[in-house]
Symmetry: C2
Subunit: 195 residues, 2 copies
DNA sequence: GATTGAAATGAACAGACGTTCAGATACTTT
DNA sequence: AAAGTATCTGAACGTCTGTTCATTTCAATC
């Protein structure tokens, strides 16, 4: 046997990335073998190398794409009002976007140390650009005398850590709806930086 | 060659755990081999099995001990004043304890999925007891009309995520001292739950 | 100084790892 | 219908994995 019936790269390619995403998120990059990924897709391990240079590239592709998409989505919904309004938009966007992609968030968070040096630098740069968006908002809020934060850098890290942490406990079938969680967290963020 | 000069279990034992701790934190449990740990200690891989049943037990021992120590240390410094005072004590304790043990915190956070089912349950139970301490404080604060939090469970998760996140960016040689970081974060926590 | 027990070696085990590649098969184009 | 190309198999590669164990060495006890 060789080529399978109905096999196409535009079908198998995404399925490889999806399988890698799911498995990496569940067991961790180092704990997942290429043979496991292949089994999930329904091919032999060798076939994966039609879609990725190697295992490392598979991880990097997932993380880089995620960070780029995150930035594009953020910029697409950012508004230009006052700082409080912008912070609310940012907070709600962050929660929604991350709750929609728990596996990608988990990987982007946990697998940084499994990236090669140059791949790490690339992802870290994208992460830095995202954090800079929040720092801009906080700086504006200080100028407007609307916020009281002793250190913009620290506050931005604190807010992002708090919001991203939702993905570690939120369950779709849980006690609270997304809208409720979003509201609770936004109120905490708002008060945390309030003057 | 066999037994080495000056070898003692009371020396090698802790060194095995220390090496495992450092390597697990840096590369992840799955990415570290028993031979790497042994090399760090300066013995052959087989010698590790005088100190641990297997690799899994090494991870579980680190995590369980960490969580138990955390609970003991928390209870040792907890006070019985009003909720605001108790929350401040908790927040400052959490920051200090975690900044002192970045590797343990990292592992307790990241390697949960590499625990066997029963080991996971044991660690998760200890984690739950720690979170319960914070929930108690928040509940008291609501009773005292000192706090305004719409959901105690969610607020406790948000606070812990925010505080624990410090370990992901704090550097000893960085711009801010521990005391400064502690103060900034405590003010954010205080405001976030304020009435 | 002989005996004993703890502590470590070093080789071995069977299996899994990432990756490569010649060859087989299915689809597309001519 | 034939030729060509994209896709996948299946086997192989060298290396590494966690773990076991007979053997050896060191340190303490008698």
């Amino acid at each position: 046997m060789a080529r399978k019936i109905g096999s196409h790269s535009e079908i198998t390619g995404p399925r490889v990335r999806q399988a890698a995403l799911t498995l990496f998120a569940r067991h961790g990059y180092a704990a997942v073998s290429m043979r496991q990924i292949a089994a999930e897709v329904g091919v032999q391990a060798g076939a994966l190398y039609n879609y990725t240079a190697d295992k490392q590239a598979l991880l990097f592709d997932l993380m880089q794409t995620h960070m780029k998409d995150l930035l594009v989505a953020l910029d697409a919904c950012s508004d230009t009002g006052n700082a409080l309004r912008r912070l609310e938009t940012f907070s709600r966007f962050h929660i929604r976007y991350h709750l929609d992609r728990p596996d990608l968030v988990f990987i982007a968070y946990m697998e940084l140390r499994n990236l090669s040096d140059e791949n790490f630098a690339a992802v870290e740069a994208l992460r830095g650009r995202y954090e800079a968006r929040l720092r801009d908002i906080l700086t504006q809020g200080i100028d407007e005398r609307a916020f009281s934060v002793p250190d913009v850098k620290v506050a931005s890290m604190a807010i992002i850590a708090m919001l991203t942490g939702i993905t570690t406990w939120y369950r779709e079938e849980g006690r609270l709806s997304r809208a409720e969680v979003e509201e609770i967290y936004w109120q905490m963020v708002r008060k945390a930086v309030s003057a």
